[in-house]
Subunit: 324 residues, 3 copies
Amino acid sequence: MPTKGIQLDANGKLLHFLSIEGLNQQILTEILDTAESFTSVTDRTIKKVPILRGKTVANLFFEASTRTRSTFELAAQRLSADILSLDMSTSATAKGETMLDTIRNLEAMQIDMFIIRHQDSGSAHFFAQHVRPGVSVLNAGDGQHEHPTQAMLDMYTIRHYKQDFTNLRVAIVGDIMHSRVARSQIHALNLLNTAEIRVIAPSTLLPVDTESLGVQVYDNLEQGLLDIDVVIMLRLQKERMRGALLPSEKEYFNLFGLTQERLRRAKPDAIVMHPGPANRGVEIESSVMDGNQSVILQQVSFGISVRMAVMSMIVGQSGLQAKA
Amino acid sequence: MPTKGIQLDANGKLLHFLSIEGLNQQILTEILDTAESFTSVTDRTIKKVPILRGKTVANLFFEASTRTRSTFELAAQRLSADILSLDMSTSATAKGETMLDTIRNLEAMQIDMFIIRHQDSGSAHFFAQHVRPGVSVLNAGDGQHEHPTQAMLDMYTIRHYKQDFTNLRVAIVGDIMHSRVARSQIHALNLLNTAEIRVIAPSTLLPVDTESLGVQVYDNLEQGLLDIDVVIMLRLQKERMRGALLPSEKEYFNLFGLTQERLRRAKPDAIVMHPGPANRGVEIESSVMDGNQSVILQQVSFGISVRMAVMSMIVGQSGLQAKA
Amino acid sequence: MPTKGIQLDANGKLLHFLSIEGLNQQILTEILDTAESFTSVTDRTIKKVPILRGKTVANLFFEASTRTRSTFELAAQRLSADILSLDMSTSATAKGETMLDTIRNLEAMQIDMFIIRHQDSGSAHFFAQHVRPGVSVLNAGDGQHEHPTQAMLDMYTIRHYKQDFTNLRVAIVGDIMHSRVARSQIHALNLLNTAEIRVIAPSTLLPVDTESLGVQVYDNLEQGLLDIDVVIMLRLQKERMRGALLPSEKEYFNLFGLTQERLRRAKPDAIVMHPGPANRGVEIESSVMDGNQSVILQQVSFGISVRMAVMSMIVGQSGLQAKA
C-alpha cells in the first residue's frame, strides 16, 4: 500500500489521516499536543470552537460502529462543522455504482472532509488517492489494516498517565492477527520510541511477520506481563471461535484473560487499556475492567480531543486557537 | 422503584426527569410556567434561543418512535444544543455489552443530557442512578412505567384551555393497564389537585390497584363521560387483540370508542385529547378527532415547549431568558 | 392533478415547489439567477449564509435516496436551517395512521418546510394542499410524476455551458415512460423556449402521448443525436428488465447506449448529462461518462446551489443577501 507521501505535504503538514505507517514522530507529537489543548475545550461548559465553521464533514460508515461514529460526530460538532451522515448500505454504491463514482459524486457535493470506515483494507487510501486537492480523508478503520485515530487516543492516554515513552514496557494482548487497532498501535509505539513493545497472543492469532514489526512475542500471558507499565487488551471477535483459530471462550479466558492475579505480575502502577466494547469474562475479568488500574473510560473521553486535533490540523488550524 | 430523591436536589431543583411520581406540585407548575414562556419562542420567525448552546443531548431510542424522538430533537435544536442520535439496535449493547458499560461509555463522551426510551420499566431510573453528577436523564417512555413529558404536555394543554385544575373532572379512557401515559397522567392530575379523575376501561384492561391511585373506575363509557370537562383517549395497542384481553376492534369501538353522540354526555365545552397516533374508528370516531372539541394537534405543538422547559430547567436556566 | 395556483401566490411569488408544470418562464429564470448567486457561496471557505436560521426543514423520504437527500440536507445546512430527518418507514404512517394525520402532526411541530420523496405520483401536491399557510412543500420526486429540483439543476447546467436555450437542440435518451426526471425536464425546456427537444427511446418505453408534450420522438439513437447540443441520458431502472418492456442489458446497450462513436453524431461541443447514479456499460459507455464532454459531476455541484435557491425564494429572501 503506497502510504508514504499521501498523508503529508512537502512541508510536513497533515493532508489526510489514513495510517500511522508513513507518519513520523514529529507529527504524532503535534497531534498529542494539539489534543491536549482541546481537552480543556471538552471540559468547558460551552464545548464549542469555530475551527470547522462552514465546513462539511461526511461520515461514510460502510461498517456499522455506533461508538466510533459518535466520537467522530461529537468531535466535528465541537469544532462547529456541518455533518452529513450517509448510510452507505442503502446508497448508490449498494445499487451497483462503483466506489470511484461514489467518491466523485460525494466530492461534487463540496464536502471538505470524509470520515470513512470500510471492511476492505486500503479503502481509505483509495479514497484519498482519488479526491481532489483540498478534500481530506480520515480513516476510521479499514479492514484489518489500520485504525489510526484509535491508536492516537491510546498514545494520548499512555502519555497522560506515563509521560515519557522511552522508558516504558507496553504489552498488547489478544488477537493481533486480525486487529487493525494493534497494527496502528505498534507503528505508533515504535515512532514514539517506546522502550519495549510486547505482543501476547496464542500462536494461531499472530501474523507470520510479527517480529519484523519490532516487537517481542509471547504466547504466555503471565510471562509477557512481567514488569509491564501498560497493558492493552484487544477485543476478541467472537466469530473467530467458529473457525479453527480458537478454542472456547472459557478456555481463552483461562489462558489469555486478564485477571487481577495476573495483573500483579505487571508493575504496581501499570495501567490497563481496552479499545471497547469489551467482553467481560472473555478477554478481561470484570474486576480488572472496573478496577483502579483501568483507564478504559478515560480513553473514550480522550478520543474526542484526539479526533478534534486531527481534524483541526488538517484544516490548518492548530488547537492553540481553541484556547482563545 | 426508588424514585424519590433522585429527580430533585436539596433545593428542589430538577436534576433528572424520570417520572411524575416523586415530584411535587411546585415543580410541575414551574414546568408549565416555563413552557408558557417558550410557546412564544416557537411562534417566532427565528425559533432559537441559546440556552443549550455548546451542550450535547443524546437520543437513545431502544424503542422506535418517530414522533417522540422528533419533538425532543426539535426542542433541543431550538435551545441550540448539539444532538447525537444513537441507533441502539446496532450499538455495542446489541453486541453484548452490558447496559452499565454502555452508560459509562456514553458518559465518557461528555454528553450532558440523555433522552432515553426503552422497553423495560425502570430503565430511565437505572440510567440516572449510574451517571455522574452533572449529567441528566430524561425519560421518553420506559416500558409500562411512565412517560412523564407526555403527561406534562397534557397538563399544559388542560391548563391552556381550562386554567384551573381544582374544579375539573377529567376522564382517561382505554387501556389503562398497559399505558405508561395513563400512569403519568394520573400522578400529574393528582399533584395538581384535579377535582375528580375517572378511568374508563374494560375490566380486563384495568390494573388491580387502580382505585388506590386516587381515581374513580368506570367500565361503562356513557356513564363515565357524564359532566366531564376533559376526555383523554388512549391509543389502543392492536397487539392486545391477539391475547385474551380484548374482543375485536369493532366490538371495542362499539363499547369504548368515543363517538359524537357519546361526547354529548360530557360538558358542552369539554375538550378531547389523545397522545397519538390515533386509530380512527377504533378508540375514536373520525368526526370527533377532527371536530371542534378536539385539541389533539395543539398537544403536539405544546409538546415542544414543554420539552424545552424541562431541558432548560435541568441545565439551570429558566425560560425567562427565552424572552430576551 | 390541480397544479396551477398552488405553487405561486397572487404576486407570482413561490410558495411550494412541486412540479415544473404550472410554473412560468419568469420564475424558472429567477431560480437560475438566484442559484448563480449561491454558487459563489458554496465555493467559499465558510459555506454558510443565515437565510434559514431558526427555520426547521424536515426530510420526509418515504423512498430511500442517499444522493438526493444529501444534497437537500447540504443545501439546508448552508442556509443555516435546523434539519429533522424522519425515517418514514418506521413512523406512525407505517403504524396505520393516515397520510393526512401524519401531515397534521408534522405541521403541529412547527416545521417550516417539508422535503418529500414518495413512491406515489401526486403525493407532494397532496401534502401542499393540506398544510397550513406559511408551511412549504418541496417535491424531491413523486412516483412517475415529477422531480422538479433535478430538472432545475439540469437547466442550470445547460445554461452554464450553453447560455441561451432558444437556439439549442436537446435530446433526452432512455426510459421516458417511467421517468419523473424526463417529465420535469421536458416541461422546463419548453418553458425556457428550447429550440428543439427530442426524446429517444425504444417504443416500449415511450408514453402514448409523448408528442403532445411538444417533443420530437426518435426510436433510433444515431438519428436522434444528429446535430444535438445537449444529450441527457436517463438511468435505466434494471427492474424494467424483469418485465416484458426490455430485452437484456447488453442488447439495450447495443441499441441505446451512448458510446463515443455515437456521440460524434452530435455537435463537437455537445455536453453529456446524467442524473445519476449511472449504470456504466448499460445506458452509457464508461469512456463517455469520464470524457471531456461529460458534465455529470458538475450537475451534482450545481444541484446544491439550485436547492438553496428554491428554499430561499420560498422563505422570501433572494440570493442577493447571500453576497453580503
